[in-house]
Amino acid sequence: MFLDTLGYVEVDRDGNEWSIDDFSFDKINLMVGQNSTGKSRTLNVINALGGLLAGERQITFSGKFCPVFRKDDKSKIKYLLEHRDHKVIKETLQIKEKSFLERGPDGEGTIYAEELGQDIKFQVPDSLIASVAKRDAIQHPFFDNLYEWGKSLRFYQFGTYLGRDRFAVFNENGGKDTLDLKNTDSVVVFLKKGQKEFGKEFVEEIISDINGIGYNITEIGVRPLLQVLTPSPMAIPEAIYIKESEHNHVVEQNEISQGLFRALSLFIQLRFSARFGIPSLILIDDIGEGLDYERSTKLISSIIKIAKSSKVQLIMTTNNRFVMNNVPLEYWVVLIRNAGNCRALDYRNSKEMFDNFEMTGLSNFDFFSSKYYERASDVSK
């Protein structure tokens, strides 16, 4: 199931409104825009929506999510969730234009019951989301799509440490009792657990991925971090290490360059995630950040290849010129901000502009850097 469009409005505690008009998404998407146009914020909104639908987070101040999902059979699922001051004030669900959920501000509403074949009344606490609180595989199986979508969404912030500053302490079994697949700081755990459960093949996949973007790694693993003095021999933290072909010595996690570690962490997490079922949607903020031309170019090609060969949807953001030049304009979503409102130009709503730009012979980055889209949309106005 894909996220087809997303509208969102939020009002902060000072009454300032920030909204995104119905952004439209394809299978592969690259969001570009000047700084502060709302790229990362949009990913945060999508991630928050996923967390809410998976029951992993609670509603906060005020917001209105209007996502439309597209199923494999092209049918649309329209969902709406509006909340204010930690209370849901409106929640609706329509599938193929038929209403399955209508819920108002007091927690009361109607919901379609499959076995009964009719709408029934319900009431949930006004702080709860009905699509989560009323999940029922027999009577309301239609909520499962939303839940699964939110549960299997992954969000990677490429411009951050991606776990480089986190080590792990394992129990006697070499694992952790609970593992949050969404915690992108848990990369040491993902590698160790992946190694344990899937063996050599898992590690070889990662080595192949990382070497595919221009590195020369011969070995990757997890081992006790000897450089750290620990208060007790029972709690020696473990960390990732690598061996590079040109220097046959071990490089420990804290010595691995930031760019290499980000790429490594991303591949470990993507591979680990894929082993536990295909993610619905992968969000990657600031893809390519910190990598040189060669590596960012290959990284983006590699990630697009992974997305193309599976059912996963991919939404990335970037300011990196090499990434922009290597992602076809068909995948672009250009964000334009006007005060508190963001709108998006993409191949679906501005095909002529993108087609005309192609004939200028300029590189994709020029589309962004010269603000061609602003001139072109001014002309069309």
Binding site: R321, M359, G361, L362
Partner: protein, 248 residues
């Protein structure tokens, strides 16, 4: 004596090699100097085609941007600095045949689409710092069309490859067609011609060197006297006028 500095941005290795050899044919080798550069990412890499006579009057910097859709971008990025550094002219050259072109036509040459590409490029140049010093050219549809316009060139590659021989096998006679309006994918046509005598062609450096090194000034002048390859004529004139050395 001041040196006239000209930058030539090309889309690939074939164009670079062809222009380098053409310059050597057109100008007195003791008066020109040229550097060949390849753009990799945003970095420049020197490639071994330096020619440095002691007292040059013209300096050509040939820049291979390695991508047809980046020629104009590379010019746009560097034009101000080049002019500040004393360059008097920038010339751009790319093939019309491209992924973007193929998207708009159905496997045939379309003059209307050609014009749109030319106009779009000219429009971008009109916003640059000194548009009058920049001339941009398309080889239509590919630079190989210009070589196909040089009727006797292939006999120099292999003596069997005269127009009659080619015509017998491939159903066209080089002397009676304009490659610019006849071949949608001239590199493929060139490949078919060379395959007749078991010579491979897939744009490798050695292959391009081998063909272009056989282009003489007579081949060029003969082509200019015909009505063929109008895009070559424009490019040639631009190259000559860049040094103020107009030939008749």
């Amino acid at each position: 004596m001041s040196v006239n500095k000209i930058a030539i941005f090309v889309e690939g290795q074939s164009e670079l090699v062809f222009i380098r050899n053409l310059l050597r044919q057109l100008f007195d080798n003791s008066s020109i100097v040229f550097d060949c550069i390849k753009l990799h990412g945003s970095q420049t890499v020197d490639i071994p085609y330096k020619h440095c006579p002691p007292e040059p009057t013209a300096y050509f910097q040939i820049i291979n941007v390695e991508n047809d859709s980046k020629v104009l971008s590379a010019i746009k990025e560097r034009e101000q600095k080049l002019f500040q550094n004393g360059f008097s002219k920038i010339i751009g050259l790319r093939d019309m045949y491209s992924k973007e072109y193929r998207k708009r036509v159905e496997g045939c040459i379309n003059d209307e689409v050609n014009n749109k590409f030319v106009e779009s490029h000219d429009n971008v140049i009109s916003f640059m710092s000194s548009p009058e010093k920049i001339s941009f050219h398309f080889s239509i549809m590919e630079i190989e069309a210009w070589w196909l316009g040089m009727e006797t060139l292939f006999e120099k590659v292999d003596s069997r490859l005269n127009s009659q021989f080619i015509g017998e096998y491939l159903d066209f006679f080089l002397e009676s067609i304009d490659p610019e309006t006849s071949f949608f994918h001239p590199a493929e046509t060139l490949k078919q011609i060379l395959a007749l005598v078991n010579i491979p062609y897939d744009k490798k450096l050695g292959q391009v060197e081998s063909i272009t090194s056989k282009i003489s000034i007579e081949d060029v002048e003969t082509l200019l006297r015909t009505e063929k390859c109008a895009s070559f004529k424009k490019f040639y004139e631009s190259l000559l006028s860049s040094t103020g050395d107009e030939k008749e």
